[in-house]
Every structure is written in structure tokens, then in C-alpha cells.
């Protein structure tokens, strides 16, 4: 921000405050003018320790790399074999995270389903229930069981390939959902049993259980209803991850999904997005530790999400012990969210391409985070699906390239030993050595 300011006013000597930068000044002015807190989407914008702060150690002398064009590096993953008669068998360890119909248009949901299916992976419903577009075009569909229970019915439960019990979301652990009235069309309202046009509040906790002991009983009920056929995931927002993962496993989860602070959202309070939860990088080793201590690492699979942007993030997450990653915001960008071709229209809305986050308004020029029929029609689900599939393939190929460089014949052979950290903070969070040392802050001695 400071650099931007100086470049905008070269040589004038003006200096922006690091404490009261322009975004902060604007936030104060907006709050003073409106008397309400800012609601927006798209997840945390602050700089957080992330996978960019880690590097992979490619092979040289002490390790033997694989030939990129002739030697295999497999990518398949099985999710939920612990209890389910029919676990999910995915071709690639990257899935589409839960995003609701309502928050997203039907075209966007269809495109996500098409793309995921083409790439051999799963997509996930959201707070709005299951749409025919998404089920019809998703080979593997994970049905979220959310506190709101909007649209929840046993037919859809049985039509799903897996069930994800959502306890929290990385962008807002402990917070409920918000879908403002401008996006509550007749169809969205019908699915959610709400009047058209009113602000929809989703509860922050499930209505019929009060803690981890109840969760175990709830999971058994879901298994009973679906005759133990489907894997049951438990999704938590990254906070007290070590304990949450242990409790989820005790409750019977087949798969644990940990969503870090960089995870997106359709709409919630800015103060929540930026100030609650912990970074994905910090949560992942905690989750792995919990699984390892319970002796179920790789038996209960771990999916990590929250700001996953490409193959490098995926490879690093897998190296730290995840079985798969999930993408949300990156998938929306692949679909066309914040694309420069809509820049003029973003500017009409007071934003710009690359900055648009007012998903709650439902006026998304890209036709993705909207229920406006004319805007939504801009998104061709077939073309969108192709873009999603392309992106998933590129992510996978990138991860394979990195894994081969580390001498790995399967993405799951990546391990913490393949990683070093660039900063002390990331070394401490990821529990890998600071680059050029054998020092893991908080875990090993300080000697080089």
C-alpha cells in the first residue's frame, strides 16, 4: 500500500500511515457513515503465512528425481473407506469445496459439477441444498449437512456420494451464514423455505446436538438413514484444530476437512473474515498430529482447504500430510470471477477486476455469485466446466512435476522432509526446518 501511494504521488513527500492506511481510513469512514459493519465475500485479504513461505527440496545428489515424461507419478485418492460401503475414489487429490446454490448461480454450480466430473473429482453442495444442475452434472457429489439444514431431505442424502457434516468454515469459524435478501429469489426461497427477498440467517451451530458426544450419535443416524453406504466427512474451520480433529475422529468421521483462515465465503462480516481463525499452514500440521496420535493418519483422510491456489500449494499440503485439498475461491476465479473483461462493470459497482468482493449484493458481472437471471446467463456452464477441468488438470500436473522432482512416484509420497521454510513463522507453523538449517522453531535445537 505504501509503495502504491508513493508511486501515485512521486516525489511529493507524502507518507501513508502503516496503521491508518487507506483501506483502514475508508473502513472507519464507511462505518461512521452507515452505522453497520461491512459485509462482504471472498475471504481474508490480509497477508498470512502460507504455502508460498515453504519451498520443496528437489532432488540433486542425495535424492533421485523421476523423469517427467516417462515415469509415473500417480494421483488417485480413496476417501472414506473406514466405514462406508462405497468410499469415494477420485482420480486427483483436489476437490471442489462446498459453495451454496443461492450464493452461486445455478450455472456456476453446474459448471463446477461438469468440470469436477471431467477431471475425475468431486464437487460439494452448500447451504442451499442440492440442485438438479449440480447433481446431474457431478459424477461425485458431496452433500453438506449444515446447521441451517436448508433444503435437507433424505432423498438428496441418499442421492449423494458422501455426506459432509459442516461444523465450521475457515472464513468464519463460529459464525453462521448470511445470504442477503437481494439474492433470495423465488427458487432460492423455495429451496430454503423462506419468504422471497428477505435476509437469510443461517445458525452458527446445529439445532439438534450440543457437542461432540452428540455428534457421534448424529453421525450414526446419518449412517443409518443411508444404510452405511456413504463416507461421512466432518468439516471444521481452523481454530483449535488439534482438538477438533481428535473429536471428529472419535465421533466417527471417515474424512476430516480442515478449512483454514484463507478460505472464502459468500458473505460475512469483514471483521470476522480478517480476525477469526488460524492460517491453513498453521492448522494442517496440527490436524496431522492429531490423526497420527490416534493412529488413523491415512485411514481417516484429511482434506485441507483455505486459499489453495495451484499445484504448488497442493503439493506442499500433501507433503505436510493432507490426503487431498479443496478449492473454492480459486475455482470461482477459474470460472471467470474477477476477470478483467468485466473491469468496466466492476468499476461501475465501485470495485475493479481483481478486487470485487461484494458477493452479497448479487450483482456479480461475471454471473457467478448472483441470482440475477440476466447476469447468470452470461456464464456458459459448458465453457465454465471446461475451464474448471483445465484448471484442475493444471494443478495436478504442476503437483506431479514437483513430486517427480522430489523423486516421488505418487503425490502421496511427498513428505515433510521434502519441505523447508523461508521464514521463522512459517517454519514454526508448518513444523519444517528454516531453509539452510535444521531448526524447526519450537521443536528442535537452534544449531545449524
Amino acid at each position: 500500500m505504501n509503495d502504491d501511494h508513493q508511486s501515485a504521488h512521486p516525489g511529493n513527500g507524502l507518507r501513508e500511515s502503516a496503521t491508518f492506511d487507506r483501506a483502514t481510513i475508508h473502513a472507519i469512514q464507511r462505518a461512521a457513515a452507515t452505522g453497520v459493519y461491512d459485509i462482504r465475500g471472498w475471504g481474508a485479504k490480509r497477508r498470512l503465512p502460507h504455502f508460498d513461505d515453504l519451498l520443496l527440496l528437489g532432488a540433486s545428489m542425495s535424492r533421485y528425481p523421476l523423469e517427467g515424461y516417462r515415469e509415473r507419478c500417480d494421483t488417485d485418492v480413496v476417501l472414506g473407506a473406514r466405514n462406508a460401503k462405497h468410499p469415494l475414489r477420485l482420480d486427483i487429490p483436489v476437490t471442489i469445496a462446498g459453495m451454496s446454490f443461492g450464493a452461486l448461480s445455478a450455472q456456476a454450480k453446474e459448471a463446477l459439477g461438469r468440470g469436477a466430473s471431467e477431471a475425475g473429482t468431486s464437487t460439494t453442495t452448500g447451504d442451499g441444498g442440492m440442485t438438479r444442475e449440480e447433481r446431474g452434472h457431478s459424477k461425485h457429489l458431496v452433500y453438506q449437512y449444515l446447521p441451517s439444514r436448508y433444503g435437507m431431505n433424505p432423498d438428496d442424502l441418499r442421492a449423494a456420494d458422501a455426506i459432509e457434516v459442516v461444523l465450521g468454515q475457515g472464513a468464519k469459524p463460529g459464525g453462521g451464514g448470511m445470504l442477503l435478501g437481494q439474492k433470495i429469489t423465488e427458487r432460492v426461497a423455495g429451496m430454503r423455505t423462506l419468504p422471497v427477498g428477505i435476509d437469510q440467517r443461517s445458525a452458527c451451530r446445529h439445532p439438534d446436538w450440543t457437542g461432540p458426544d452428540d455428534l457421534a450419535i448424529k453421525i450414526r443416524e446419518l449412517r443409518e438413514i443411508t444404510d452405511w453406504e456413504k463416507p461421512v466427512y466432518v468439516k471444521v474451520g481452523a481454530t483449535r484444530t488439534y482438538y477438533d480433529v481428535k473429536l471428529a475422529v472419535h465421533a466417527g468421521a471417515d474424512v476430516v476437512v480442515v478449512d483454514g483462515m484463507q478460505g472464502g465465503t459468500a458473505a460475512t462480516q469483514d471483521v470476522f473474515i480478517e480476525h477469526v481463525g488460524i492460517p491453513t499452514l498453521a492448522a494442517l500440521p496440527q490436524a496431522v498430529q492429531a490423526l497420527q496420535e490416534l493412529g488413523v493418519h491415512r485411514e481417516v483422510q484429511l482434506i485441507v482447504s483455505g486459499g489453495i491456489r495451484g499445484g504448488a500449494d497442493m503439493a506442499k499440503a500433501l507433503a505436510l500430510g493432507a490426503d487431498a485439498v479443496a478449492i473454492g475461491t480459486a475455482a470461482l476465479i477459474a470460472l471467470g470471477d474477477n476477470h478483467p473483461r468485466y473491469d468496466a462493470q466492476y468499476r461501475e459497482l465501485g470495485s475493479a477486476a481483481g478486487f470485487y468482493d461484494d458477493y452479497q449484493d448479487g450483482r456479480d458481472p461475471a454471473g457467478i455469485s448472483t441470482q440475477d437471471e440476466e447476469l447468470a446467463a452470461r456464464l456458459d456452464p459448458v465453457e465454465g466446466g471446461r475451464r474448471i477441468a483445465n484448471f484442475l488438470r493444471v494443478m495436478t500436473m504442476e503437483a506431479q512435476a514437483l513430486a517427480r522432482a522430489c523423486g516421488k512416484a505418487h503425490l502421496h509420497h511427498l513428505e515433510p522432509e521434502d519441505l523447508v521454510a523461508l521464514t521463522i513463522e512459517s517454519a514454526a507453523m508448518a513444523r519444517v526446518p528454516l531453509a539452510g538449517t535444521n531448526w524447526i522453531p519450537g521443536m528442535t535445537g537452534s544449531g545449524l
Partner: protein
């Protein structure tokens, strides 16, 4: 399990001898209603998830107390619990009916979309929480936060209601004959007009409850929370 002879075949499942899993698997078998439309479940002894996920026109009589989530997500079936029910009885019911002869624990009928839930005794806290179209008739009293965030359907309470009745209510309608300890945010008393008396008469009749509809008061949403405002936060 044994099939009893008689004009109407009844299947008996003894949970002292076989598991809840066995029971539910049998009840989920496609076409089960043609083979045996009437079921008796013996010795439930507080078991969880008894007769959940039913999807055909069955009658199921559970002879004893049940634990959590009995008749959860019921569709089409008529389930009667001849005892008390634990947390979340008939949660997310879609259609059909569930009757509890005794008392029910908290969150009875939570998020249920349709059908009729009758609790002849009392129901604990959060009865009808996030109800989405179900009709619930409670012969006794309900605990605090009942019908919290109720979206649609009707809750009839023949006894008293605890604190914060109908908090953050959407379009669910509430009738209470006894005392209401307090109303939740945005829940207000509303006049009982002829159409409400008719509605209440029908619900009481369907539930088999003998009570004078004219003795009930009606509560609903003031709709002040329908759009986000700073002064709605507290």
C-alpha cells in the same frame, strides 16, 4: 424377527435380540410396506436412531423409551413411541407422522419439513427449532427457545411455554394455551381470527387432543428481523 399371523401381517423386531442396524435395514428394504406394513419394535431401551430414514407407508410401534433421533427424516411412515423420546425425535421429518406417548427431550421435530409430530406429554427446550413446515402438537408444555428460527409450519402447545418462545421466528405459527414465560426476539402475540380457529381445530383433531381452540393464544413473527439493520444486533 417374526411374522405374526392374522388379517394384517405385523413384523416384530426385538432390539434385545437384534440390532438397530438390522431393524433399519429391514425397514429400508424397497417394497417393505407390501411385505409387512405394520411393525412392532420391542425393547428399544433408549437406543438411538430407531426407525430413522423410513420411506414407505408403514406403521411402526416402538414399545418403550428411545434415545436420540428416533424416526429421524421420516417420510410417509407413522411411528408411535410408547414411551419417552430422546433428543431430536422426528428431526427433519418430511411427511407421515410421529407420536410420542410420553415426554420428548430437546429439539423435538427440529428442522422438520412436513408431517405431524404429536407429543402427548411435555417437550423440552427448542421444540420445533428451525421447523420448516412440520405441524407439532404438544399435549403438555415446551421448554425454552421453542420454535427458535421457525421458518414454516405450526406449533401447538396445550400447556405452558418456556423462555424466548419463537425467537427469531420466520413464518412458523405458534398457538399456546397456557402461560408463556417470555417471547423471543421479534416474536409477538397476534390476534386469533376465524381462520386460525379453524386451523387450530384441525390440528387438534389430527393430533387427537381434546382442547378448546378458543382457549389458545397465537404468536408469530413481527418481521422486524427480515432485513439486516444495526439495531437488530444485541
Amino acid at each position: 424377527m417374526e411374522a405374526l399371523t392374522g388379517a394384517v401381517p405385523t413384523e416384530v423386531h426385538d432390539l434385545a435380540a437384534a440390532s438397530v442396524r438390522d431393524l433399519n435395514q429391514a425397514l429400508h428394504t424397497p417394497g417393505v410396506a407390501k411385505r409387512a406394513a405394520h411393525w412392532r419394535v420391542l425393547n428399544p431401551r433408549g437406543a438411538h436412531s430407531v426407525a430413522c430414514g423410513l420411506n414407505e407407508e408403514l406403521t411402526v410401534a416402538v414399545e418403550g423409551h428411545v434415545g436420540y433421533y428416533c424416526a429421524g427424516m421420516n417420510q410417509l411412515a407413522a411411528v408411535t413411541v410408547h414411551g419417552n423420546a430422546g433428543v431430536g425425535v422426528a428431526e427433519n421429518m418430511m411427511s407421515g407422522s410421529v407420536r410420542v406417548r410420553g415426554n420428548a427431550s430437546q429439539s423435538a421435530g427440529a428442522t422438520a419439513h412436513g408431517g405431524l409430530l404429536v407429543i402427548e406429554g411435555d417437550a423440552a427446550a427448542r421444540c420445533g427449532i428451525s421447523m420448516k413446515g412440520v405441524d407439532i402438537v404438544v399435549g403438555g408444555s415446551v421448554g425454552h427457545m421453542s420454535a427458535f428460527m421457525g421458518q414454516a409450519g405450526r406449533l401447538v402447545v396445550c400447556g405452558d411455554a418456556g423462555d424466548a418462545l419463537g425467537d427469531s421466528l420466520y413464518e412458523a405459527r405458534i398457538y399456546v394455551r397456557g402461560r408463556v414465560k417470555s417471547l423471543g426476539a421479534d416474536c409477538v402475540e397476534k390476534p386469533v381470527r376465524d381462520e386460525h380457529l379453524a386451523e387450530l381445530t384441525g390440528l387438534l383433531a389430527a393430533a387427537g387432543v381434546d382442547a378448546d381452540p378458543a382457549s389458545f393464544r397465537r404468536y408469530g413473527s413481527a418481521r422486524r428481523l427480515y432485513h439486516f439493520q444495526a439495531d437488530n444486533a444485541y
